[in-house]
């Protein structure tokens, strides 16, 4: 038995997700008294994983897998799990992870718990806490099958340093043409911008900003903080901002360390998608805005006055760091 973690990378480089699932996998391996095996596909340098407890690393190098492909990746994970006798497979909740994890579950005849937020609360029976009702509640789910797939919710466990000696091994999966029936054609990435999924800090604007032309103050604040920008649903429906920035129950979920909501009232559907951010700051002219009830820090004030001043102050603060 062992625990298999899939550590994803982007153009060969690991992101925080990869270290988080590895840290988590290490703890699960300790709880179940087994070993941790980390699987990588076309990663440049796997040695960083050793800082988070990766005792054994399986390295797949294969040009066919250069672009993410859910079916092929699921096939690789299945073969790795079988080779290692892994009965617990851990995958992150990125757009790729949540795409192919259900396929892995079917391949391995495993029960799948997505959006897990904690270590299993018990091993036998195997019970794990996961987000439900768009973070308005949590569900304790038992996985009843002998194989198990866990989708770890981003930023719910964090990084745990745990230096170990690793043993690296090349792994060559067998792929079939069938794995590539969905083929990559092109990608469009917002360059030079932090994505909401990867950001530690998200600065978000609502209808209180009155028009898309006023987004400069949001972007400048985000720039100083190295944050991603986001918006409420009406803002994207009105075309002030692209749909990819819409966060909330029907948009992207946010689980950053810090979420700054500017001119957003705090409707239940908005909160549902951003509630799992650790710290929330609200800037709103209306002291009765519902968002204050869900926030950690609040400022009653006009965004057009407060935000530029806050940006200036943060610049000074950063310069003195």
């Amino acid at each position: 038995m062992s625990v298999l973690v899939f550590a994803d990378n982007s153009e060969g480089k690991f992101k925080k997700n990869a270290f988080e699932v590895t840290s988590y996998g290490k703890k699960v391996a300790e709880m179940t008294q087994t070993n941790l095996v980390v699987l990588t596909i076309n990663a440049d340098n796997v040695s960083e994983l050793a800082n988070y407890g990766a005792e054994k690393i399986l390295k797949v190098s294969n040009d066919q897998l250069k672009d993410f492909n859910a079916k092929a990746y699921a096939d690789v994970v299945k073969q790795a799990a079988e080779k290692e006798g892994a009965d617990i497979v851990i995958i992150d909740s990125s757009s790729n992870g949540s795409y192919f994890a259900p396929l892995v579950a079917v391949n391995l005849e495993a029960g799948y718990a997505s959006n897990a937020v904690e270590l299993p609360s018990s091993i036998s029976p195997f019970v794990i806490k996961r987000k439900a009702f768009s973070s308005k509640a949590f569900n304790n789910t038992e996985i009843k099958t002998s194989n198990k797939v866990i989708g770890l919710s981003k930023n719910s466990f964090g990084l745990v340093e745990n230096s170990v000696n690793t043993n690296e091994e090349d792994f060559t999966p067998t792929l079939s043409d069938d794995d590539f029936n969905v083929t990559f054609k092109s990608v469009e990435k917002a360059t030079g911008k932090v994505s909401i999924a990867d950001a530690d800090i998200v600065v978000s604007g609502g209808r209180g900003l009155k028009s898309g032309e006023n987004w400069g103050i949001i972007e400048e604040l985000a720039d100083v903080l190295g944050a991603a920008t986001a918006c409420s649903k009406p803002v994207s429906d009105l075309g002030w901002r692209p749909h990819s920035e819409h966060v909330g129950q029907t948009g992207k979920p946010v689980s950053s360390n810090l979420y700054i909501a500017i001119g957003i009232s705090g409707a239940i559907q908005h909160l549902a998608g951003v509630n799992s951010s650790k710290v929330k700051v609200v800037i709103n002219t209306d002291p009765e805005a519902p968002f204050f009830k869900a926030a950690d820090y609040g400022i009653v004030g006009d965004a057009f006055d407060v935000v530029p001043r806050l940006t200036e102050k943060l610049k000074e603060f950063k310069a003195n760091q």
Binding site: A137, V187, E188, A197, L258
Partner: protein
């Protein structure tokens, strides 16, 4: 083209979420149920296929009789017929197995599901179906065009979007972007009248296992009151974020 749209029946997004029986069950008292919002987007996209490319459009739900009004609403929006698999949707795998059976029996070319249900947020049913019956699969789908058998689809990725090409038979996990909010259709009187006469077939579930079980629910910890900072004292906010919250 034969299209199947998978509809999950979920509490309205404004619902207060409560539990009963010692937090072991969801308390549906006073809860309004709706078509899962992601499924509303895929249903509208399916209507375009029906109107512009002459597709047939069936909707399906795995659920008990209480989800029939949701299926009737989908019929009122324009689906041709509906199927209800008469079973409690206890676990994602179980639901996927039931839907896979419906798809096999109906020979659908294109299956449109939502990215996730807004109740249990599983995000697993479409992918599991794809794997069970070996259909091509695109998740977080925000654009799809079909010509003959050829499909071009766009999916959302972290920080951008990606275009892929594939073929029917296909299943997608779709979301807003397939169509926009303003395109969503509200059933009109004529649609509602017609929906009453459209076929809604109830089929019994196949015998299959579940892989997970819901044990209990927790509510998030009540948070401590929001600390208010004077708008003339932004240094205090920065200090709190740095020293107390340790997030900057």
């Amino acid at each position: 083209m034969k299209i199947l749209v998978c509809i999950s029946h979920v509490p309205d997004t404004t619902s207060k979420i409560n539990f009963k029986d010692d937090n072991s069950k969801f308390d549906s008292t006073g809860v309004q149920y709706v078509i899962n919002p992601h499924d509303e987007f895929v249903l509208t996209r399916a209507m375009w296929f029906k109107e512009k490319q002459g597709a047939s459009l069936t909707v399906v739900n795995v659920g008990d009789a209480s989800s029939e009004p949701t299926l009737r609403k989908a019929l009122a929006i324009g689906a041709d017929d509906a199927i209800r698999v008469n079973a409690e949707p206890t676990d994602g795998f179980y639901v996927a197995k039931q839907l896979a059976e419906v798809i096999k029996n109906g020979g659908y070319d294109l299956v449109l599901a939502g990215r996730e249900s807004l109740d249990y947020n599983g995000g697993m049913v479409p992918g599991m179906i794809a794997s069970l019956i070996d259909y091509n699969f695109v998740n977080a789908c925000i654009g799809i065009d079909v010509e003959e058998n050829q499909v071009t689809a766009t999916r959302e990725i972290d920080g951008g979007k990606e275009v892929v090409s594939t073929e029917l038979p296909l299943i997608i996990g779709g979301q807003k972007g397939l169509v926009e909010d303003k395109d969503l259709r509200i059933p009109n009187m004529r649609g509602i009248m017609m929906a009453r006469k459209k076929p809604l077939q109830v089929v019994e579930p196949i015998d299959t296992n579940t892989t997970t079980a819901s044990i209990s629910f927790d509510k998030p910890e009540p948070r401590s009151a929001c600390k208010m900072v004077d708008s003339d004292n932004l240094d205090e906010l920065i200090s709190l974020l740095h020293n107390e919250a340790k997030v900057i």
